[in-house]
Symmetry: C2
């Protein structure tokens, strides 16, 4: 059974005002995904909320893996950790995540 | 370009204690998805959080559509609205959602 990882972000400060910051984050993540050798990664998408509901968060990543171990390797990848700490965390107002079998 | 809908839930009250309630919600949603004629729905998955991180929410749904209009038809489907109001809303502590092109 595949394993799905979902994370949503609501931005704070400058990132909530200037879309170029979340767009830069998306670009950095996409470059990492394109270059990295992430075994078991079946699909990966991310994007800015389309604005269809006031209460929505601002950004989401959805990644589907062959299994939980493939997700754990993705989660613990050094470059992924660097992007989280240096590029994403400074801009996060709220983060919600779920990983589920399916 | 496809269009992705993500929603996460943290349950409250009995649903946070008794997994049969979120499992019942998942089953109701899966039956609706199986029976409904939802044009443009490419993939749909849901599931309970696997418990890999304390801060995680409890449950997520990920649905991918051909386009935004297909998502809007899904969102506004009468049975979907009934399930949200009658089966899900009474148990929701926190809900986070994002829809994005991708």
């Amino acid at each position: 059974m595949t394993f799905t990882h979902v994370v949503t972000f609501s931005w704070t400060g400058q990132a909530a005002e200037d879309p170029s910051i979340p767009d830069g984050i998306a670009e950095t993540l996409r470059r990492w995904i394109a270059d990295a050798d992430l075994k078991g990664l079946r699909s990966w998408t991310c994007g800015r909320d389309a604005g269809l509901a006031e209460v929505n968060a601002d950004f989401a990543v959805v990644a589907v893996f062959d299994d939980m171990d493939s997700y754990l390797a993705y989660r613990d990848d050094a470059e992924h950790r660097r992007i989280i700490v240096e590029d994403i965390a400074p801009h996060v107002g709220q983060r919600t995540s779920v990983q589920f079998a399916g």
